[in-house]
Each structure stands twice: as C-alpha cells, then as structure tokens.
C-alpha cells in the first residue's frame, strides 16, 4: 500500500508537469521543452525562501509563481515568438536552449548537490488502509486530481479556454476571428511557467532541489502525455498516475534499473498502437 501511495505521489508530479506542457501545447501548438525547468526553478526558489532567507515556507508559493511567470514571459518573448511559425522547427532548438540555460544557472547559483526542500506542514506520515503516506504527498495527489478537472472544465467553457483551442487548431483562422493569438500564446507560456513555479514548495519535499531534475521529469511527463493523449488534461492525469504506478511497481518487483526500460517499452508500444493516446479520441495531425 505504501508503494501504491508513493506511486500516486510521483505520478501526481508527472501529472502536474504534463498539465503545464499541455497548456502550452493546446494554446500555442508547440512543445515547450523548458517547461520542466520551470518546475526545477520552483523547487530552488522554495529552498531559497525557506532555508536561505528564513522566510515562511508558504512565501515560496508567491515567489515561485512570480519568478516562474516572469521567466515564462521572457522565454515567450525571446525564444518562442521570434521563430514560432516563421522558421520551421526552430522553436525546438530555442526552447531546449532556454531549458539548458536554466539548468546551468541553477547549477551556478546552487551547485550540483541536491537540497532538501522543507515542507510547510506536518511531516508525520499518515496511515491509510495499511500504508503510510506523507501529508505533502496527499496534497500533491489532491492537486493532481483537482487541477486537471478544473482545466478541462475551464477550457471547454471559458472564452479564453476556447480561444486557446482555436489558436492551436489554426492560428490564421483564429486571428481572422479576432483572437489575439500572440497574446494567447504569451499567456499560456507564462501561466504554465508560473504554475510550475508555484508548485515548488509542494513537490520540492519529494524531488529535492536538483539542477538537472528537469531533464528526467520532462521525459517521464512526456510518457504520461503519450499515454493520456497530447492536449488532453484528463488524459494527463490518467497518464501521470499510470507512469507513477509502472515506475514504482517495476522498482519494487524487478529492480531499479528496469524502471526506465519498462517505461520506454510502454512508450514505444503506445506510440505504435495508439499515437493519439489511450484516453483521447482527438486526432493528432500528422500531415
């Protein structure tokens, strides 16, 4: 049961990251490789606030949000807007570059050693159904259930949500209908980055603050998206938890070194059989 809970809580982190990827994917029609690095920055910010500045841990949320959002704005302006839709495939390079710069800055500022990020609440494990789970894990799992549902409802009912869908579907057609697609893409990238930063104090206690954690997180969240379907928020949730379960149980019953190989196998099979994801009926345009 404890394995099950830790599977859920790592799965929740993948879910939350996948949501960030998806928000950008849905609104700007691109894959922001730096998204996972914003989450990494969030964990360092909360470490900085709580341990280095001795401020209340909760302030980490505010700092994470603001710093993440600002970095997102900068990235969109500098790395995405100048090339997206103008030079084929250039945004792949520029967003990877952004992510690596963030990796490098974090390692310059904080070094390459992992730091433990303190949790703001109780750290006594709770016993549920015969297994133990930490309070911070419970909150992360809760967030990974609530946020996707909220996003799904929002994207189908709010004007901005529909505008996001419209501009990823056909930028020109959306522009003609009076949607400011540049603004939509700016808001999406910045909001996703702010969201990732905001999560710092929640996920930091689990992942620790490590300069290159983004690289592996990005891969596993990508698998989560592939399982759930690119562009689907509820799919991200299902995919994230599925990846968490696959990981934890292959570690438990096989060995740690099989974890990634099994995940890769799952990814390959999925991409071959259901490239649009298990839970998505939407077609991903190939041509």
């Amino acid at each position: 049961m404890t394995t099950f809970f830790s599977a859920l809580s790592t799965g929740a982190i993948y879910t939350l990251l996948a949501l960030g990827f998806n928000v950008v994917f849905v609104s700007a029609g691109m894959f922001n490789f730096a998204q996972a690095q914003f989450m990494m920055v969030g964990t360092f910010v909360s470490y900085w606030v709580a341990v280095q500045l001795h401020l209340p841990v909760a302030l980490g949320f505010a700092f994470g949000l603001v710093i993440g959002f600002s970095l997102g704005v900068i990235e969109e302006r500098v790395a995405i807007r100048p090339v997206l839709g103008k030079v084929a495939h250039a945004e792949l390079i520029t967003t990877i570059g952004t992510g690596i710069i963030l990796d490098g800055l974090a390692s310059l500022l904080w070094g390459t050693q992992p730091f433990q990020v303190p949790f703001f609440g109780s750290i006594t494990p709770i016993k549920i159904a015969g297994g133990y789970v930490d309070p911070d894990e419970v909150i992360v799992i809760g967030a990974a259930v609530v946020v996707p549902i909220a996003l799904e409802v929002w994207s189908r009912n709010s004007l901005l949500g529909l505008a996001c869908l419209a501009s990823s579907e056909d930028r020109q057609a959306a522009m003609v209908r009076g949607i400011n697609t540049r603004r939509v893409s700016l808001i999406a990238v910045a909001a996703a980055a702010g969201f990732a930063g905001l999560l710092g104090p929640l996920i930091g206690p689990q992942t620790y603050a490590v300069y290159n954690i983004g690289d592996t997180l990005a891969i596993t969240s990508f698998v989560a998206m592939a399982i759930g379907g690119f562009g689907s928020y509820l799919g991200s949730m299902a995919g994230g938890f599925a990846v968490g379960l696959i990981e934890q149980f292959s570690v438990r019953y096989l060995s740690a070194e099989y974890q990634n190989v099994i995940l890769f196998g799952a990814l390959v099979i999925l991409l071959m059989l259901r490239p649009a994801g298990l839970f998505s009926s939407a077609r991903v345009r190939v041509v």
Binding site: F33, V87, I96, I101, D215, V286
Partner: protein, 653 residues
C-alpha cells in the same frame, strides 16, 4: 509570356581551371588532413584531430536529420554508445578488424535508429526529440543490465588497438582511418544532399502534404532520413572505442547530446562541411568539451538559443546571400558550401523556342506517341462522393466522368467544396462514401502518395515551394517517383542516376518553357513572386507527365496575358491526352478554356454544361458567382436563347 531566352549559360571556367570541380579541392584537403602526422603534427594534436573527426561524424548525422529534414534527434549519444560498446565487445572477443567492427557498428546504429525512429516519428517533431532523448537516459541502465558484456559501471576495459587485415594499426594509421571514415561519410552525405533524394528531403522539411502529393510516403521517408543520420554516430562510436580503449556509460550522457546539438547549430545545421567546424569548436575551441564546467551549460544553452534565433529570416538569409555572392564569383571555393542553389551541377541548356517547347510538351506527356490520337483511354470516374468534416457536409454526393483530352472546370462560391473535391481525388482526404476510379484502378482508399504514383498530379491554391532549390530543381522534384533511382545508385552517381538526372533536366526544361519560366530556371524558386510561384506549381505538375492534372486556382494573381497563355497551355496539356480538372474563379478564363463546366454549391453540383450553356444561365451566375458574367471583351452580346443548360439537384452527367 514569351519566353525570353536565358542569356547566359554559366560559362564553363577556361584556362588553368578548366575541368576543375570543387570536389577536387575537397579531396586535396582531405589528403592534406590525412598526411598531417607525417608533416610534423605532434601526437597530442593528432589525438585532438581524431576526436574532431569522431565528433564530425556525430554532428553531421544531426545535420542530416535536423538541418536538412527538420527532425530533431537528441539521441545521438546513445547511438554513439551502441556503436562503441558493440565495437569494443567485438574487438576484445577476437573479431578485431576495423572494417568488420565498422560494419557491425553501422548495423547496430541502423537497428537502434529504427527502434527510436519508428515510434518516435509517429507524432510531431518534438516527439522524436523526446523519444530519442529517452534512450540517452537508458544507456547507463542498459549498460548495467548487460554488465557481463559491457562491464556496466565497472567500465569496459582492455579494448585492443584496431587491426586491419590482421595488421595492428599504428597510431598514425589509426588517425588516417579516422579521417578516411569521416571523409567517406561526408562524401556520402554530400552526394545524398545534392541529389534528387536530397531535394525530396527539402520538400519533406517544407511540407508533408507536398511530399505526399509528389508520391513519397512522409512517415517512411522521415524514418529513412533519421536512420541514415544515425549511421555516422554508430561509426563514430566504433572509432571512439579504439580511441579511448575503455568505455564508461557516463561518457554518453545528456551533456554530450547538448554539445552535439550546439555544434550542429554553430557549424550551420543546414551545411555539410559545417559539421567539421562545429566539431572543432566542441573539442579544441573556446568551449572545450573535455572540461565540462558548470558554466558550460549556460554557454551551450545560450548558443542553442542564439543559433535557433539566427535560423530566422534575416540574418542567415543575408549571410547565405553573401556566401552565394562570394561563391558565384569564385566557384572554386564552392567546397565550403555546395548547397548554394546557384552552384548545383546542371546540364547545358539550349536556347528555347516556343515551337520546340510545344513539341516537347507532347513528347513529355506522352513519350513515344506521335500525332494527336491519344492512347490514353482511361476515364476518371467520380461516383457519389461525399465527405463530412464533423457536422459539416463538405461534399454531398458528387459524380462526374472526365475523359482524356477534356478540360473539366469546377466553379462555385468559396466553401462550396471545390478544393475538398480535389483533395478527395488526390487522396489527401478520403471520401466518407463514394468511389473515385481512374480507368480500372480505384483511387479512393489509397493514400495520397499512392494516388500520386498512379499518375495524379496537382497544384495548390497557396503555392508550396521548398526552400533552397532552383526553379528547375523544384520542378523536377515531381519526377522523383515516376523515374525512381534508389539511394545507393544515387549516392554513387551511377550511369542510371545520371540518365535519370538528364531526363529530369529535359522534362524541367520543357515544363519551364511551356509555363514561360525559362528565364527563372536558375533563380531560387521560393523567392519568386506569388504569381510566378503559381506557374512553378503548374510546371512541377506537368513535369511529372501525369495522367490526371488537378489545377487549384492556377490563374489567380496572373496578368491578363499570362492567363491567356495559361489557357493555351491547359488546352495543349489536354490535347496530349491528359485528364484535366480546373478549379477557378476567373470566369472568362474558365469559359474560354473548359470543355465542361460544373457549378458547385454547398457540396453539390447544381448545374453542368458546356461553356455556352453555363454562360446563358444568368440565375446560376447570380446565385453562385455573386454576379452575372461580366461583359467579356469580344464575346458579343449574351447568346440569348442558346441551348438549355442541364439543371438538376442531382449531379449531371
């Protein structure tokens, strides 16, 4: 549209440079590079140069798949690792012959490339990046799982020096081997990029839809290019195993992937020999890879960001224009970058004459046939074709029969389903119900590239012209499949390839001449004005020698004189026995060109008839074209009381 005879053939260099080709300079440079150890280069620098050669291989693989084809791979280090481990294992276990290990390493790279590429390319470009990045993370895990073969985290040690035919290679000879392998790969890559295959790769990067319409299956083509780009990484791994004689999984990590990508972008992802510059910067430049410091992540990241931004119009275009300027003046330097379009090899072109062109057109479209009687008897049958997009009925049961030699025009207001009809015929959109047949072959149900190979060529409303090709080359791309030559004969430039190339040039010449583009044959096609690019599209479709020609608004943006000669061209194409379907808004053009006109509205054919019948049907004109036929100059008063147009809600014919 009188074809102005192109004034200047590129004059062949005379005097001492007669017969010189840039490739000779490349060979000389390669020989000099290989001879360096005997010219006093010290052992330390020889080692450095070996690493540059090894990195050149990996970087140039990235260039091929990302720079030329637009598919980003981050997995090069993993393929590099596979090559290294396979070679190391073979060398330790008494199979230590450099040629053999290179072969095995290459095969292993191909297999790894397939494992990554086949799933990774199912979705968009970023999905390949992620899947290929994933295998980099797997290297330590797999090395650990296969510990008995790889040594795992205890490293693989004791790899002997390379042997060739039973002889142990001296350090100097091994250096030469590194240079030769890198040189051979670059030669292969050059011949691939500067070939019909290379031109199709540019088409692929520009537009998957165009690629399909020209007869290439997009997905398999991507897999092919990606796998080709994996091979040099595998070869590099083999050389590296001998270089270090010791392998550790930590050598092949994420930082290598980042460095390779940065080197590719810095050296110019769309260049062939730029890989050497990128690799040299990586190894001996200011960013020395060996001393990977924490600040180097920031530096590499910044280089990627800036390099990516430089791909944008403007700076690189200008830099390229500058390079082109230099190279056109001193073609001897073309070894620097042979991908500049103006310098690509081409045959001499005789001065055009209009008469020769028309004869050439018939010969192009129906080779071997003489006289006007067409052998082509197959008709294009469209039977009850419907197509729904979600809740929208784009086509609601369209039927028509088109005979060879006939020009059929489809007119109607925007959104009436005309382009959808073309898309259904060309296989880009499959019909919800109904059948499209060409002779006894059923077209519907086939993919676009299969339909294209059955002889259906088309143009697009918005011209799709790949970047970096001359007009003549862009036009010849449509012949890639009709006159196919495999990859190996292409790279080796066999007689068969050269013959196909000559036929390409002949066909392109004819197609350009009949579309009045002879003067633009050597211009960069993508930079031409819109109306001209539309004619390039028509020329490309004609050069394919199609059985069915689909023209989507070919006349928009053309001048009156150009429209007139387009009309003559369309008639001439039909006269050669081709089935022509024309979608057009220019009503007088349609009236003067078409044999049969179908008027469409909300997905159905509402009126069909000859031009005279349609012209005398003012209600139709008012309802479906928004206005009556404008007074056509010289057409006289409307022929009142002319034959009745067939009118029905059911499709006519």
């Amino acid at each position: 549209m009188a074809a102005t005879a192109s004034p200047a053939m590129t004059a062949a260099p005379r005097g001492p440079l007669a017969g010189y080709r840039p490739v000779h300079l490349a060979v000389v440079l390669l020989l000099i590079a290989a001879a360096l150890p005997w010219m006093g280069l010290n052992a330390l620098w020889v080692r450095e140069a070996e690493v540059v050669a090894i990195f050149t291989l990996i970087v140039s693989g990235t260039n091929l798949s990302y720079g030329f084809a637009g598919e980003l791979s981050l997995g090069q280090p993993a393929i590099y690792a596979v090559g290294a481990y396979v070679a190391g294992y073979m060398a330790i276990h008494d199979a230590n012959d450099l040629l053999f290990t290179l072969l095995v390493g290459g095969v292993a790279a191909v297999l790894t490339g397939l494992i990554v590429g086949i799933p990774g390319l199912r979705l968009a470009s970023w999905s390949l990046a992620m899947v290929s990045f994933f295998i980099v993370l797997l290297v330590p895990d797999l090395a650990g799982m296969l510990q008995q073969y790889t040594g795992g985290f205890n490293d693989m040690t004791g790899i002997p020096s390379a042997e060739l035919f039973g002889q142990l290679l001296t350090p100097g000879e091994f250096y030469v081997a590194c240079i030769v392998v890198a040189g051979a790969w670059l030669a292969f890559e050059r011949n691939l990029v500067l070939s019909r295959h290379g031109q199709m790769i540019r088409v692929l990067k520009e537009s998957p839809v165009l690629t399909e319409s020209l007869g290439s299956p997009v997905y398999w083509m991507k897999v092919k290019v990606y796998v080709l780009g994996s091979i040099p990484a595998g070869l590099a791994g083999v050389l590296f195993a001998y270089y270090d004689q010791f392998l550790s999984p930590t050598t092949f990590g994420f930082d290598v992937a980042v460095g390779i990508l940065a080197a590719s972008v810095l050296g110019g992802a769309q260049s062939i020999y730029g890989a050497i510059i990128g690799a040299a910067l990586l190894q001996v430049g200011p960013f020395e890879f060996a001393s990977f410091q924490s600040y180097s992540l920031v530096v590499y990241g910044a280089m990627l960001l800036i390099g990516g931004l430089l791909l944008r119009d403007g700076i690189t275009t200008r830099a390229r224009a500058g390079l082109t300027w230099v190279l056109t003046r001193w073609p001897a330097l073309a070894v620097v970058d042979p991908t500049v379009p103006h310098l690509m090899p081409r045959a001499r072109r005789p001065a055009d004459s209009g008469v020769a062109a028309v004869g050439g057109l018939a010969e192009l479209l129906r080779p071997g046939a003489s006289g006007p009687a067409g052998q082509e008897t197959a008709t294009l049958e469209i039977e009850g074709v419907t197509r729904r997009f979600g809740g929208v009925q784009a086509l609601g049961g369209v039927s028509m029969t088109i005979r060879p030699g006939e020009v059929t025009a489809v007119i109607g207001p925007n959104g009436s389903g005309k382009t959808t009809l073309l898309n259904v015929i060309s296989g880009l959109v499959s019909p919800s119900s109904g059948v499209v047949r060409l002779g006894d072959r059923t077209l519907s149900g086939h993919r676009a590239h299969q339909v294209a190979r059955l002889g259906v060529a088309r143009t697009f409303q918005t011209p799709v012209i790949p970047v970096g090709l001359t007009t003549a080359e862009a036009v010849a791309t449509s012949r890639f499949h009709g006159d196919h030559v495999g990859l190996l004969p292409t790279v080796l430039r066999t007689r068969r390839y050269r013959a196909a190339r000559r036929r390409d040039q002949q066909a392109a010449r004819t197609a350009l001449s009949v579309t009045g583009l002879t003067a633009q044959a050597d211009a960069t096609a993508s930079a031409l004005p819109l109306g001209t690019r539309r004619r390039v599209e028509a020329a490309r479709a004609i050069a394919a020698a199609p059985r069915v020609l689909l023209l989507d608004e070919p006349a928009s943006g053309l001048s009156e004189a150009e429209v007139a000669s387009l009309g003559r061209l369309v008639r001439a194409v039909a006269a050669a026995g081709v089935i022509v379907i024309l979608i057009e808004h220019n009503f007088s053009f349609v009236l003067s060109t078409a044999d049969v006109i179908h008027v469409m509205s909300v997905g159905e054919i509402v009126v069909s008839g000859t031009p005279e019948q349609i012209r005398s049907h003012p209600e139709t004109m008012a309802a479906y074209l928004g206005s009556g036929p404008r007074a056509e100059a010289g057409s006289g008063p409307g022929a009142a009381g002319a034959a009745q147009a067939t009118e029905s809600t059911e499709p006519a014919l």
